[in-house]
């Protein structure tokens, strides 16, 4: 052997040995750095604060990437830092929608979450398994100042876990006011009035009556979710029965209407031509500039209209999604998102995080949020006032809050059961791929998976 290969052989063996051991070391080394990264932002921040001199704390704050959330988060961070110079807050962003849900759940599960984070309240909050993953905030002094609707949406077993981020918002229809004036239309109080308005707009022939933007699937859900006030008005115990697996979308006359309305709008041809490929930004542009007249949407969209279409802000109005009965007309309300503290935040970061949450849930915090971005509804903290000059759509929505019985929380805040595939099912119904009743049935099946995963009784 030696004679054949001569000197190169020991070098070859040596080289192979070095290569193999370096590979192993790299694999181990890589694992170690990954380990320190996931050991918790807490330990990294602790390292940072120690280096900075013992008192300064840096908190990382994860928010979604909508313009509104980023603006509000940075405003809160800056104003909090002014009042508390020893705490610096760094804002990080994550995607919205189902991908954002995925990211938040995974980071919580692996212990890799930032020091504080913002996320939806209601059923999405329930899906985070809060008793295991979040810090309970029941002892905080500001808990008593919260508006009525908020604590149930961020609590499990009467233990509260979050502070409100942003305003409450309504789910209904944004509409283009100049077109209404031009065609002499009135805000509809019943579904039939809404459809006849649509017919008149279609007859005028210039713009699309109803805007749909299925490129971003979450926007397709409004006809179903925004209709819940009408469902609650017709069947007051729907939410309870729904959680106990006794009421279903497919079998409830009131609840299946949401799906049927979606099918009706599609079959009447009222949708914009590019409904399948338009996205959320297109939808806002169309309703602000009058390329389309009705856009079923949540009112947090108003902040983005203010940011991107400042000239057209007052051209956009709002009305609640009408049901069958003009008497019980009212708006479905979404409670604001919550700011939560993951259980992995400890020590100096935890104290700073509690102080930050106290700031968020205070009148100063509300002021900071108003300065950062246009509010699109009332704040759910006592003592928080709204400014006088609000966009027209918000002004249209506030009277619903003042009238008795004109608001209902959306189903996801009354019941932890919400299926993940609703957005795809509503896209199918709205595109004419599937019928309304079939879609409702499909959603009921989808919801069963979520209920079983949560371990609810009766499923």
């Amino acid at each position: 052997m030696r004679k054949r290969f001569g000197t190169p052989v020991p070098h070859l063996r040596l080289a192979a040995l070095v290569a193999a051991s370096s590979l192993i070391l790299v694999a181990c080394g890589g694992g170690d750095t990954a380990g320190t990264d996931t050991a918790g932002g807490g330990s990294e921040a602790a390292g940072g604060s120690e280096a900075a001199g013992g008192e300064e704390v840096t908190l990382s704050f994860l928010v979604d990437n909508t313009d509104y959330s980023v603006a509000v988060a940075e405003g809160l961070a800056a104003d909090f830092h002014e009042q508390n110079p020893d705490v610096t807050i760094e804002v990080e962003t994550r995607p919205q929608g189902a991908e954002g849900d995925n990211l938040v759940k995974t980071r919580l599960a692996t212990g890799d979450m930032t020091d504080v984070f913002m996320y939806n309240s209601g059923s999405l909050f329930q899906a985070l398994n809060p008793q295991e993953t979040l810090v309970p905030l029941g002892d905080e002094p500001w808990v008593g100042d919260l508006g009525e609707a908020f604590p149930p949406a961020v609590s499990v077993d009467d233990q509260i876990y979050g502070a409100p981020f942003g305003t409450a918002m309504g789910g209904g229809v944004l509409y283009h006011r100049p077109t209404y004036e031009e065609l002499g239309l009135e805000v509809p109080q019943t579904w039939d009035e809404f459809m006849s308005n649509n017919q008149e707009i279609a007859d005028a022939g210039e713009v699309a009556p109803v805007i749909q933007t299925y490129q971003e699937t979450w926007t397709s859900q409004l006809f179903v979710l925004g209709d819940f006030h009408n469902v609650a008005a017709a069947e007051p115990d729907f939410a309870e029965q729904y959680t106990a697996n006794k009421a279903k979308y497919a079998t409830s006359d009131a609840a299946v209407k949401g799906f049927q309305h979606l099918q009706e709008v599609h079959e009447a041809g009222y949708q914009n031509e590019d409904f399948a490929s338009a996205n959320y930004a297109d939808g806002l542009r169309m309703v602000a500039t009058g390329e389309g007249v009705h856009y079923p949407m949540l009112t947090f969209a108003i902040a983005e209209i203010v940011a991107n279409h400042a000239d057209n802000v007052d051209d956009v109005g709002f009305f609640a999604l009408p049901g069958d009965d003009a008497e019980s007309n009212g708006v479905t309300v979404w409670t604001p998102a919550g700011v939560y503290i993951p259980a992995t935040t400890e020590g100096a970061e935890l104290d700073a995080a509690r102080r930050f949450l106290a700031f968020v849930a205070s009148p100063e915090g509300c002021e900071s949020q108003t300065n950062a971005a246009e509010p699109s509804g009332p704040y759910l903290v006592e003592g928080c006032d709204l400014p006088e000059d609000l966009p027209q759509a918000v002004l249209d929505m506030l009277p619903y809050f003042d009238r008795e019985g004109a608001t209902s929380p959306a189903l996801e805040f009354l019941s932890p059961v919400k299926g993940p595939a609703l957005e795809q099912i509503t896209v199918e119904v709205g595109s004419g791929i599937r019928g309304a009743e079939e879609g409702a049935q499909l959603y009921d099946d989808d919801v069963e998976k979520q209920a079983q995963q949560l371990g609810l009784e009766g499923w």
Binding site: R2, A16, A20, L23, I24, A27, A98, E99, D101, N102, K105, A109, A127, N129, E132, Y214, T217, E273, D274, A276, S277, P420, A421, Q424, I425, V427, E428, S431, I433, R434, L442, D445, D446, K449, Q450, Q452, Q453
Partner: protein, 308 residues
């Protein structure tokens, strides 16, 4: 080293043993080199595969595990959205695989013949394989936009009303398959080029002398003798096609609705929703489907291999 003592030992061995011991004693030493790769393989592939078989029989939240038997699989096959995923996967895999075979071989024959700028053309054909899948997906989504995309505006110039490539439920999956073929044809072509180049020139020259036309030479000589390359292309592209996820996710996210969902995107959506047990069950189904299709196919294709 120890040549002298080796020599002495061998001489002693010859004297005493008379080939009672085999001349070369099998040393376990070479097997130690399998160890690093074996450890990595077992830890990263074998263990998770068996763990996934276990977790697919449970409902788990990453913290708690509840054994539920085959319920996840029953659910997987009873939901229409999930069964659509299965059929779409098979369609996608077969269409992309067939297209790559049918288009790759003539292309490779062209790129091994004497044409101008052959090297440049080979690079151009292979280039899409190197580009990021997500980048390709986003680009083609923009190109295929029904109103403003380049494809439909060009067709409009010719007077044709282009359909909604990614928004029409019946076309969405096939449009994504077309982009996948555009992207993967380079790899198929390269494999075929390697196969064609291995064909002895004498055969082709002899055929040419005997009066065979280019087409006859292609069909009678190149195609049969490229069978090993064809087998490789079919197997690789079928496995890739059945498991395909990133292009579909980047272009349609399984939409519109559920019409372009494949098993991989269904699994991902279940994972996103936090149904980890169901998602793992989907992975097991995918594993079984791919194995059940590819193993028999591989056996069938390779047992009729033509020996050169």
């Amino acid at each position: 080293m120890a040549t002298t003592s080796d020599g002495v030992a061998q001489a002693a061995g010859r004297l005493t043993a008379r080939r009672a011991r085999p001349a070369k004693r099998k040393s376990p030493y070479p097997h130690w080199f399998y160890l690093p790769a074996g450890v990595i393989y077992i830890t990263l592939f074998a263990v998770p595969t068996f763990a996934s078989f276990y977790f697919s029989l449970t409902r788990w939240t990453l913290f708690e595990v509840e054994f539920i038997g085959l319920e996840n699989f029953v659910q997987f096959f009873s939901e229409p959205a999930l069964v659509t995923g299965l059929t779409n996967t098979l369609v996608f895999g077969v269409v992309t695989s067939a297209a790559k075979v049918v288009l790759g071989l003539p292309l490779a024959a062209l790129l091994t013949s004497q044409i101008i700028a052959r090297g440049y053309l080979r690079s151009v054909v292979f280039f899409p394989v190197l580009v990021s899948t997500i980048g390709v997906g986003i680009t083609f989504t923009a190109l295929m936009d029904p109103q403003d995309g380049v494809i439909n505006t060009s067709l409009a110039l010719l007077g044709i009303d282009g359909p909604g490539w990614l928004t029409n439920p019946s076309l969405a999956l096939l449009s994504v398959a077309a982009v996948d073929v555009w992207r993967g044809i380079g790899l198929a072509t390269v494999i075929y080029i390697a196969g064609i180049v291995a064909i002895p020139q004498d055969l082709l020259e002899a055929a040419q002398v005997d009066g065979a036309s280019t087409v006859q030479r292609f069909w009678r000589i190149v195609v049969p003798l490229s069978r090993p390359a064809t087998t490789t292309v079919i197997i690789l592209s079928l496995i890739g096609g059945l498991r395909s996820f990133d292009l579909i996710w980047a272009m349609t996210r399984g939409g519109p609705g559920f019409t372009s969902d494949v098993i991989a995107s269904v699994i991902y959506k279940q994972y996103q929703a936090g149904f980890y047990g169901l998602s793992t069950a989907g992975n097991v189904v995918l594993f079984v489907v791919v194995t059940a299709i590819v193993l028999p196919l591989f056996w069938f294709l390779t047992r009729r291999r033509v020996e050169l």
